[in-house]
């Protein structure tokens, strides 16, 4: 997608050429069919949309969160340790530290609410124009909205984020410093 799109006239020539070659060459036709299947059909508003854009996530906030989970809940220690050698009761004891601490960190820095207020298992109807990012359809996904179905997961949505302010120059990649007792 790096090169610029061809002009309308050039595209007409390409179309005529393709038409000829698809009819005349069965192998080319098979290849074209494959390309057609994987290439998404353009949306109606496609002509006005810019080029697709993917953002590089900003790593600092992620590093900060990892640091908080480690600081309050020993998150990295827990995941970096091999659990296979331990009995369930030992893993469970450590899990309490992780659960209590990570939960504290989570609740202190994020306000989290369910996406759907209904209890899981209840039936609900999605009207036309529902937010497809907030509700995922699964199973018999056919027909037109309104959709009716059963809530299998209520979803989670962050309604507020309150991360600590970071001093300029502070190295967030150090999730927890090494400790040396003198």
């Amino acid at each position: 997608m790096a090169e610029s799109a061809p002009s309308v006239f050039a595209r007409l020539l390409i179309a005529l050429d393709l038409f000829r070659r698809v009819l005349g060459d069965p192998r080319f036709a098979a290849e074209a069919a494959r390309l057609r299947a994987v290439w998404p059909t353009p949306r109606v508003e496609a002509p006005s949309a810019g080029r697709p854009s993917l953002r590089e996530p900003e790593p600092n906030a992620a590093l900060q969160l990892l640091g908080l989970l480690q600081q309050d809940g020993r998150f990295i220690d827990f995941l970096e340790e091999e659990v296979a050698a331990y009995a369930d009761s030992e893993v469970g004891a450590a899990a309490r530290v992780v659960h209590e601490g990570c939960r504290k960190a989570l609740r202190q820095h994020f306000t989290i609410a369910p996406v759907r207020p209904e209890p899981e298992g209840s039936r609900l109807t999605l009207a036309e124009g529902f937010d497809a990012a907030a509700v995922r359809l699964t199973g018999q996904v056919v027909g037109e909205p309104p959709f009716s179905g059963r809530l299998t997961h209520k979803g989670w949505r962050v309604t507020a984020v309150k991360l600590p302010k970071v001093a300029a120059g502070h190295d967030l990649a150090i999730l927890v410093p090494a400790e040396v007792e003198l």
């Binding site: 004891a93 970071v166 502070h170």
Partner: protein, 614 residues
């Protein structure tokens, strides 16, 4: 006073500080626009968060300990010390650099409160030290800077500031607290006793409904058990010109006994169980254990269906699963250790185990020797039988062996554990029943952690005429020691008599009469006097000389000191002076020495620097 936009209440607690404020322009009558300031503070290297409380911990870092810039605050790029949450967590690993419980040191009669003595016990030449007074200045300074950062258009110095102190604070500790605030430029300042602040908060929460919940003749007992201290007060409901009035009639002694003692007691119990299993704990793990026990305690004492709560001491190293210690705390253990240990069912005649004065001379905090809060309360109520005698609407001589409260208000984080509040309430009601008196009602409290700050801000508002005020004045009468004129007997100290300088219940902004007795002061030389206070002698007038008293009636306080400057006098000359007491508008006691001739007067220092080596 008139141009303040906010009434600000500051709870300068032993373990936590909090700041609440009332927007005066948006408040009238029972409609009060009140908020809590979330305090920006370091929570880790390079991380600043706004938390509802500022832990009263101060850490003095080594210059190489943190990367440059990692201690930056929104208003200070290079603070020399760490306050709050991060100080507490870092200090748990390096206790020699941690200052904690500075407020208890501020009220410690045996130490120089302006002397650099904190942290105690650390290597003196390696770790910088602070005085208990400096520590108070730092905590208040952090709150002031935070306020000014968050309210750039309303400098804290221009607001009505109320700082709370324990009701049991001695005059010197009160004065040092006021001085700390004044050192930061907070001139519109008043002090308020913490149990009163808790009652103000309750009044405020009731939104006018309080007038229906109490009646004339009620005696409200405020039991405030915080992180480090137990503070007791009695507040009577009286009537003046047809409307209800509140009068604080008595306050308890300074008792260093609080939630921290309880958590520590549990931690030692659990530590005993772990060492019984052959496991050893280092001091850091004990600290972590204390934290775990606090959580477990609150769960077990709040929910009766829970029988046991696991307590896990995380490892110090990265091996979390392999290195952690696990045990559990049962409901029965917590009941035995806390409910029976700190709140035992004792008769009203019980008294706490006596504390020997010798214990005060050692360098360390004079923690209460008897952990039973109920015994301290029994002693307080037993001593205060006469507290309401002079009040209109209270029949004299109706009390039995102790003063009968008719209502109880709990305050302090300890009572978040319902069962402790229930036990305390039951004990008080059992005492009342044994005296044939009706049970005391419970005044449903507000937020146990924040009500002192809230009540203080609300007080700043009612002082401007917005609502009911608690009267009371000083909760003690004060005396100066006078050596009696008797022939010298070898080996026998001349007995000391107590001359009353300040009567009980002096209101803010008043002066006492001047007793006729004169003292000879040597010009240019500091002269010390012994100083006494009594929370039960309510009727002593100024100038009365008491020759005989029992130790639980009059208590000796720190010595006071007067120095006459040598200006216009020859050093060594002896000048006869009289002593006058006053209570300032701020709420501190002021003593002055006045010569017989002329209009000069000099301040008598309540807080005297101890001679070195003491």
């Amino acid at each position: 006073m008139s141009d303040a936009r906010y009434a600000v209440g500051i709870d300068l607690g032993t373990t936590h500080c909090a700041l609440s404020y009332v927007d005066l322009g948006r408040s009238s009558g029972d409609e009060v626009a009140q908020d809590l300031m979330r305090v920006p503070q370091l929570t880790g290297p390079g991380a600043v968060e706004e938390l509802p409380l500022l832990p009263s911990f101060l850490y003095l870092p080594h210059p190489e300990e943190f990367a440059p810039g990692d201690l930056t605050l929104p208003w200070d790029s290079r603070p020399g010390m760490i306050l709050g949450e991060m100080a507490r967590s870092v200090g748990a690993r390096t206790p020699i650099r941690l200052v904690s419980s500075a407020k208890s040191w501020l009220c410690h009669p045996g130490v120089d409160r302006r002397g650099a003595i904190l942290p105690p016990g650390g290597p003196e030449d390696e770790v910088p030290r602070l005085s208990p007074f400096d520590a108070s200045v730092r905590y208040l300074g952090h709150l002031r800077d935070a306020w000014n950062h968050l309210h750039p258009d309303a400098d804290l110095a221009g607001q009505e500031v109320t700082v709370t102190v324990p009701a049991s604070f001695d005059p010197a500790a009160r004065e040092l607290t006021a001085e700390a605030a004044q050192a930061l430029g907070l001139d519109h300042l008043v002090l308020l006793e913490e149990p009163q602040a808790a009652l103000y908060s309750w009044i405020h929460e009731s939104a006018g409904e309080w007038r229906n919940q109490v009646r004339v003749g009620d005696i409200i007992l405020v039991i405030d058990v915080g992180g480090g201290t137990t503070d007791l007060s009695l507040i009577a409901v009286t009537e003046r010109e047809g409307s209800l009035e509140l009068t604080r009639v008595a306050v308890g002694d300074h008792i260093l006994l609080g939630g921290d003692n309880m958590d520590l007691a549990l931690a030692h119990l659990v530590k005993g169980k772990l060492t019984g299993d052959g496991k050893t704990l280092d001091p850091w793990q004990v600290q972590a254990l204390t934290h775990g026990c606090r959580q477990a305690k609150e769960t077990l004492l709040a929910d009766r269906s829970v029988k046991a709560v696991p307590v896990v001491v995380p490892s110090r190293g990265a091996r979390l699963i392999g290195g952690s210690l696990r045990t559990e705390l049962t409901r029965e253990e917590v009941r035995r250790a806390l409910v029976e240990g700190f709140f035992p069912e004792v008769p009203a005649s019980a008294r706490p185990a006596a504390r020997s004065r010798a214990a005060l001379t050692r360098l360390g905090l004079p923690y209460a020797q008897d952990p039973a809060v109920t015994r301290h309360l029994a002693s307080f109520l037993g001593m205060q039988t006469g507290a309401t005698e002079d009040l209109p609407g209270f029949s004299p001589g109706r009390t039995g062996s102790f003063l009968h409260p008719t209502a109880v208000l709990f305050n302090g984080g300890v009572f978040k554990a319902n069962q402790l509040a229930e036990r305390m309430h039951k004990v008080v009601n059992d005492w009342l029943a044994s005296d044939g008196a009706p049970p005391a009602r419970l005044l449903a409290g507000a937020d146990l952690d924040l009500s002192v700050a809230r009540g203080a801000a609300y007080y700043g508002y009612v002082r401007r005429g917005g609502g009911v005020r608690i009267r009371g004045g000083t909760a003690r009468s004060y005396y100066v020691g006078v050596e009696s004129a008797m022939p010298a007997v070898p080996g026998l100290e001349p007995p000391v008599h107590a001359l009353c300088l300040a009567p009980f219940g002096m209101e803010e902004g008043t002066e006492a009469a001047i007793p006729p007795q004169e003292f000879g002061l040597v010009v240019g030389e500091p002269v010390r006097f012994r100083f006494f206070g009594s929370s039960v002698r309510r009727d002593d007038p100024v100038g009365v000389l008491i020759e005989d008293w029992s130790p639980d009636e009059i208590e000796e306080l720190d010595e006071i000191q007067a120095t006459l400057p040598a200006e216009s006098r020859s050093p060594g000359e002896v000048i006869p002076v009289r002593l006058r007491a006053a209570v300032t508008e701020v709420g501190t006691l002021r003593l002055e020495a006045m010569p017989r001739m002329g209009s000069e007067h000099w301040k008598v220092e309540l807080n005297v620097r101890k001679p070195t080596g003491d």
